[in-house]
């Protein structure tokens, strides 16, 4: 079996042209993750630039309203650039710089990863190009402008379904064209090894902080940890620290779109089968001939037909649970948290909020739930307004 496996999942299924780049990346990562200077620099950026540690906020009103478990929100939405994406991006761009790369490229769905990459590139003086499905450039127009403002060039991808998976395809193609001076800043715990491991490691600060913060506040670990899952980086980030604490339930909330019994869904675990795509073996939404299915979710960040290989493994061995959440439920979660706590969550994170609403009342008042609030919802306000039939000018 090749490198980077999580059970049967993972691996390195990429064109030969990229193999040396991937090997070089793995070697550089192995070296720098133990390098004191690198770790100090990264910590400095995380603390003094991105605003870490992020708050662990006790959602008292929500807790009382739902009448069950005590609910905490991990406020990744308060990070610089508005989501957890910055954790991974600062790590990868700094690593790329150490490797002597001068240019970074990245895919983006909702635009959060693109904005974070453009931000880190601006800060660390790297050239930056972002690939974004044309459909996503339209539903997240503000983020396109934001990336350009930060000095990045944004390419609207017109191939395939014009969403996140096509943005990944195009970024991979771009990388095979120009690999010598370029690092591909993959935005999730997916793709060929070593990306799922690197991204998880850079995101795992979320779970480490939660553990420390909760031990401080409550003197104990949570009973359940919830996060939304597309590729799965914020979920792996908060899950990782708790994997060996078997008593902590880990719940990934997938985007079910119109529902798992319709073909307008992006719930990979619920509707997918094992395949090999985007460099990894994992679960994918696909047909019997292995053609990747067009997927759908209101959330551009979860609108992806696959899931990271470590999630596939956690699912197979039963360590984590994956549940589908529809557009309608997510929007209710979006509006609920806004009114209840005065926090507008990203529509992605709202999937986790929505499932928390279902789960919390069934848990005891002595139990604790942590929801990873992976991003803020400013970017989604216009789209939610459209969904509700309200015409507003952005």
């Amino acid at each position: 079996m090749s490198k980077g496996r999580f059970g049967i999942h993972g691996g390195q299924y990429i064109p030969e042209t990229l193999m040396n780049a991937i090997i070089e990346l793995e070697q550089a990562y192995e070296k720098y993750k133990k390098d004191e200077e690198f770790c100090e620099e990264l910590n400095d950026l995380l603390n003094n630039y991105a605003g870490r540690p992020s708050l662990l906020y006790y959602a008292e009103k929500m807790t009382k309203d739902l009448g069950g478990a005590k609910i905490y929100l991990k406020r990744e939405d308060l990070n610089h650039t508005g989501s957890h994406k910055i954790n991974n991006v600062l790590g990868q761009v700094l690593l790329a710089k150490k490797m002597g790369k001068t240019r970074v490229i990245a895919e983006t769905g909702a635009g959060q990863h693109g904005v974070a990459t453009a931000t880190a590139a601006a800060l660390l003086g790297m050239e930056c190009e972002i690939f974004m499905g044309k459909e996503d450039t339209e539903r997240q127009a503000l983020n396109v402008f934001r990336m350009e403002l930060l000095g990045a060039r944004v390419h609207a991808v017109t191939s395939g379904t014009q969403t996140l998976k096509d943005a990944v395809n195009e970024t991979m193609r771009e990388w095979t064209k120009r690999v010598e001076d370029t690092h591909y800043v993959l935005g999730s715990v997916m793709g060929p090894h070593p990306f799922p491991t690197i991204v998880r490691d850079f995101q795992s600060i979320i779970g480490r902080e939660v553990k420390e913060q909760l031990l401080m506040i409550e003197g104990r670990l949570p009973d359940a940890v919830l996060a939304c899952v597309g590729g799965g980086s914020n979920a792996m980030g908060i899950f990782h620290e708790f994997i060996n604490h078997k008593e902590v339930r880990l719940i990934g909330c997938e985007a079910a779109g119109d529902g798992v019994d319709t073909d307008k869904t992006a719930a990979t675990m619920a509707t997918g089968t094992i395949g090999i795509f985007h460099g990894m073996k994992s679960y994918f939404c696909q047909d019997e001939y292995g053609q990747i299915a067009p997927v759908y979710s209101i959330s551009a960040g979860l609108d992806y037909p696959g899931i990271g290989p470590e999630h596939a493994y956690l699912n197979d061995c039963g360590r984590a649970e994956y549940v589908p959440v529809t557009d309608r439920e997510a929007i209710e979660g979006f509006e609920y948290l806004s009114r209840m706590e005065g926090i507008i969550p990203a529509v992605e994170s709202a999937h986790a909020v929505a499932y928390a609403k279902k789960l919390a009342p069934d848990m005891g008042k002595d139990q604790i739930m942590v929801i990873n609030l992976s991003g803020r919802g400013d970017k989604d306000v216009a789209q939610i307004a459209r969904y509700r039939g309200v015409q507003i000018n952005e």
Partner: protein, 257 residues
Amino acid sequence: MNRIERAFSQGKAFIPFITAGDPSLEVTQQLVLQMAEAGADLIELGIPFSDPIAEGPIIQDADARALSGGVTTDQIFDMVARIRKSCDTAIAFMTYINPVYTYGTERFLKRCSEIEVDALIIPDLPFEESEELKPYCNEYGVKLISMIAPTSKERIAMIVKEAEGFLYCVSSMGVTGVRNEINNDAEEMVRLVKEIKDIPCAIGFGISTPLQAAEMAKFSDGVIVGSAIVKIVEQYGNECTPYVKEYVRKMKEAVVS
């Protein structure tokens, strides 16, 4: 002598690529037969994939056209079975790992062997992952074609030692497509390969004109052309066969001259 050995025993080989089902399987079948008649030594048949990450826009569009026409892997197998009744030219399937894996790797290779497909080319299956297919390829007598790229460098020795059939030398960085200039690293790549093993080297990616093909043939054993042919198919649609045939004839002439 097997079909692949024969393909490289008639002067320098010309290897055309087309996407199966573009514009229809009927036309694909005609194209294969006519290309063989025009001198194609080995024919690369693309099984279309929804997300062909190693392809440029021309072949991406061909895959999309074929799939929107409803073509399936099973239909392509059946078409090749029909072709085999009258055509003994070597045939390689070019596709991605997911259509093979999801079909069932063993079931896929068994079917390849039944319809006498000689080789498989899978651009997203590097050396490190070749075990995914190798055992089944060996069992069913289908060659898994190895690829080397300009970035392969010190990996060449390891890849070539295990290579069989022929070696697919990727001439330049990036994805498939028509290029005006082709990197001259290819000659050095072939030289490195031959130091290790005497295996036929075919050069692909970017080649479209007889002049380019002749240049590449000087130092290699064959030339692979995809996008330039797919472009003709796109341009003439159902009427493309005579145009493709004429192109293949000229290209074969160029590589053997």
